[in-house]
Amino acid sequence: MAIAAAINGKPMVFTADPETPLLWAIREDLGLTGTKFGCGIAACGACSVHVDGVITRSCSITVGDVAGKEITTIEGLASEGKPSALQAAWIEHQVPQCGYCQSGQIMAATALLTSNPRPSDADIDAVMTNICRCGTYTRIRAAIHSVAGSA
């Protein structure tokens, strides 16, 4: 049973079993490996994507759950080869160390700024619950503020 959805603006058909977590269908069937596996229980956020614009931990929803929906992954943030404003801020602030969690961090920050263009520190704390073992939180916060213009 094939499930139709849109990934990064393009129509796509999932051939995976509908019970497969979206994460593994994105990574193994579509080959979009920018979305990361970290814990498998929605605790770390490395697998975060947008489903109809809503930040979602893709390890914990299934392919069946996203039928007919619009999915955006880290690979879909750039437009015409140019990084998004947040991606550019991540480079400017030299945020990543190992980088493994950063796809998820950027997806979470992108969703935050879409719904709340000028977040306070408390707003950031409430939403940015992804784990970064390298401890880049100070720079993540600064990068978000720089794009929000509220630093």
């Binding site: 977590p21 498998g40 605790a43 030299q94 945020v95 990543p96 950063q102």
Partner: protein, 743 residues
């Protein structure tokens, strides 16, 4: 991130320190030229196993260090390009192949120097011998905060300078002018008299035929254009758009995915397993029994993990079924009580100091748990055995040793094994091949499968089968004399290994004793970021705070009294006190704590400002750090390393603990092994570097150790209660008499 002790043992074990070492010859002199052949394409010239210059002037550095997130490859490139006078925009870095010709001579030189305490002796060794040592080890290690201080200084700068010289000599010959009339800049050799300029790209092929000087003159620090500059890290653009490939991301035609469960009680073996429930899962192809684990091979990770979870394997307990966190601490205490230490170190007469008339005796016991590395990328190695050759892909801290290990497990010669290094999603000491099972596991699977197989460890497997920072305890005792100074200091500690040569004791005291009561449990313990400096930094710096209180002296002033005048330690301490406003008033309920630790030749002092919430949860407000690592190569990345280290140290103090019951680990994922998140991290971390110009120290690790004791000391300032056990207990801090608050 490996302990000096273990390295020293490895090197010592190869019997290269002592008589007859100069007789050892570099038996395989073709290795370096083979390495050159490996990286040279058409129109490109390789100067050594480290460096390639192409006709279009592009410079490629082959780094022997793995990118585990620490950014050292950009730093190494800065050091090379500095001495080469290369155009930075044309410099790129790739990780060196896991081949003998790329073994890390500079690293061997650095570690030998560290170990012997006599760099002069090491410098007297012929380069060929060092290369032999490096390849015999085999040294392609990333660890010990060593990349820039050893590889950078001892290899990259030297190779850059020697290559520059070869280019200049080639230009001199071509232009018919003396070398002294030439200068270099931006990847060009310039002859100012005639206005002629030759690009490195057009000189490279001919220059590569020259012998490189062993001892080229290096630049004066004042002439540095790249070292010390915050150039952007080369790897970051690919880390913000999802394009960089980690070991987890390897995809090969026809590849299968496997996942695995090892005996939950370490030391146990697989007794039996019925494969049927896994085979019933759609997509599962095989259940493979290993000696102490069972693996499921499937079309993808999801069927593999579903298949694994459907199994009910029986494992033996290896005789370890009674081991628990409590039994380990009880064993530590029993060993101390028995009073027969396995090793002793220190200076002065501690017994006399303890018995001195009027001495005030202070004692305290400290305990810390096993710690999990929690690298964000769980282990994932891919292997393919075909036509007698084995290929392995993944992120490891020592590619060359990984290849050697895989060859051993496969029963192949090293020349039939190729390791393809991938970027690592964190490591912190986790990816050293001597402490991991996955190399053997994936090799064993690949040898019996006709297609490539990617073995992915679940987070649960990663948490429960770690190479942990050891569970450790220490009983500290000191005598404070009538002058208010420490007369004697004793650390009776219990853990698997001794700390000598690694965890540096910074205070200048008349009598110090360190005694190891060796205790090994069934758990695998390895190098955890900063290794023994984490727990011993916690012990010593918390205890110094207790001694300060007992002496009735301010914690900073008390430390000052026990550090040598004019020392770098004192300068770091004073600077952090100044920057943090030590001694000035803070808002009510907030206290300050301080700690100073030296690790990997870098001195770090931190002041933490913290308070305690109503439920007993500590709140960390701000952190100030002052660092003396001699010289910073890239200040932005250096700051990043220290900030990240501080957050990791605070995270351990706030909640990280691997505990055992019935021989097995109780934790299984981030749900019960909590990592500090943004909301709990300090909003501000002020990092300042003292550019002392002293011998270069490491930066990947030394930010970690002072954070936990500085936090514990700040909580004492607020609550009057001493945290002597990590992680910090909320119930311990709750119901604290606020009247005891100090500031």
């Amino acid at each position: 991130m490996m302990g000096m002790k273990r390295r020293a043992f490895l090197i010592g074990g190869a019997a290269v320190v002592g008589g007859g070492i100069f007789a050892i010859k570099w038996a395989d002199s073709s290795a370096a030229s083979a390495a050159k052949d490996l990286i040279s394409g058409k129109g490109e010239s390789a100067f050594s196993a480290w460096l390639k210059i192409a006709e279009d002037d592009s410079v490629t550095l082959y780094s022997p260090h793995a990118d585990i997130g620490q950014g050292s490859n950009t730093g190494l490139a800065q050091m090379l390009a500095e001495e080469l006078d290369a155009d930075w925009s044309k410099v790129n870095v790739v990780q060196a192949p896991a081949e003998g010709g790329f073994a890390n001579v500079g690293l061997g030189r650095g570690f030998l120097g560290d170990m012997t305490g006599s760099p002069g002796m090491v410098d007297a060794m012929p380069e060929s011998l060092l290369s032999f040592i490096a390849r015999a080890m085999p040294l392609q290690i990333t660890g010990g905060s060593s990349a820039l201080r050893f590889t950078g200084q001892k290899t990259m700068q030297v190779v850059g300078a020697a290559t520059r010289l070869a280019l200049v000599e080639t230009a001199a010959k071509r232009l018919g002018v003396p070398v002294t009339e030439l200068m270099t800049a931006d990847s060009k050799v310039l002859h100012t008299k005639s206005g002629k300029a030759l690009r490195y790209g057009e000189l490279a092929a001919e220059a590569a035929e020259r012998n490189l000087s062993d001892e080229p003159k290096l630049k004066d620090r004042k002439d540095y254009k790249l070292i010390g500059k915050p150039v952007p890290r080369l790897d970051i653009p690919a880390k913000v758009n999802g394009s960089i490939k980690y070991g987890m991301d390897v995809a090969l035609p026809d590849m299968r995915v496997a996942t695995i469960m090892a005996a939950p009680i370490r030391g146990g073996k697989l007794v039996s397993v019925d494969p049927a429930p896994a085979m019933a899962v759609k997509g599962v192809e095989k259940v493979i029994k290993l000696d102490s684990a069972v693996a499921v091979v499937a079309k993808g990770y999801w069927p593999a993990i579903q298949g694994l979870r459907a199994l009910s394997p029986k494992f033996s307990d290896g005789g370890n079924g009674a081991i628990s966190t409590a039994s380990i601490f009880a064993a530590h205490d029993a060993l101390r009580k028995a009073g027969k230490p396995n090793s002793k170190a220190g200076d002065g007469d501690v017994d006399a100091g303890m018995k001195a008339a009027g001495a005030k005796i202070v004692e305290a016991g400290f305990r810390v748990p096993f710690l999990h590395h929690a690298m964000m990328e769980p282990f994932a190695l891919t292997a393919h055995y075909k036509d007698g050759k084995l290929d392995i892909w993944g992120g490891m801290q020592d590619p060359l040793a990984t290849k050697m290990a895989a060859a051993k497990f496969a029963g192949l010669s090293a020349s039939d094994v190729t390791f393809h290094p991938m970027v690592s999603g964190g490591s912190f000491g986790r990816r050293l091949p001597m402490y991991v099972e996955i190399v053997e596991q994936v090799t064993t699977l690949a040898m019996q499968l006709p297609y490539p197989v990617k073995l992915i460890w679940s987070r649960e497997e990663e948490v429960q089968q770690g190479a942990y920072r050891p569970q450790s305890s220490a009983q500290l005792k000191a005598a404070i004399g009538a002058d208010g100074k420490i007369a004697a200091y004793q650390n009776d500690y219990a853990q698997p290994v001794d700390i000598e040569g690694e965890a540096t004791f910074i205070y200048d005291l008349p009598a110090v004793s360190r005694r190891l009561y060796k205790h090994v449990s069934n758990q695998t313990t390895g190098s955890w970021r900063s290794v023994n400096s984490t727990q011993h930094g916690f012990y010593n710096e918390c205890f110094m705070d207790e001694l300060a209180a007992a002496a009735g002296t301010d914690p900073v002033e008390f430390r000052r009294k026990h550090l040598k005048a004019e020392s770098r330690h004192l300068a770091v301490l004073d600077e952090v006190a100044r920057r943090s406003g030590w001694g000035t008033a803070l808002p009510e309920g907030i206290g300050r704590g301080i700690a100073v630790v030296e690790a990997f030749k870098t001195i770090v002092a931190q002041v933490v400002e913290a308070s305690v919430g109503e439920d007993g949860t500590p709140k960390i407000h701000r952190v100030f750090a002052v660092v003396d690592c001699g010289t910073t190569v890239n200040p932005v990345n250096a700051e990043n390393q220290i900030q990240g280290g501080i957050i990791m140290g605070l995270s351990t103090a706030m909640g990280e603990s691997i505990t055992l019951e019935n021989g097995a680990v109780l934790q299984s994922n981030f749900s019960d092994y909590p990592i500090l998140k943004m909301a709990a991290a300090p909003a501000s971390i002020d990092v300042h570097f003292i550019e002392s110009g002293a011998e270069m120290g490491g930066l990947g690790e030394p930010g970690v150790p002072p954070a936990a004791p500085a936090l514990a000391n700040a909580l004492f300032a607020v609550t009057g209660k001493r945290t002597r056990q990590l992680p910090i207990s909320k119930t311990f801090l709750r119901d604290v008499p606020q009247a005891d608050a100090r500031s």
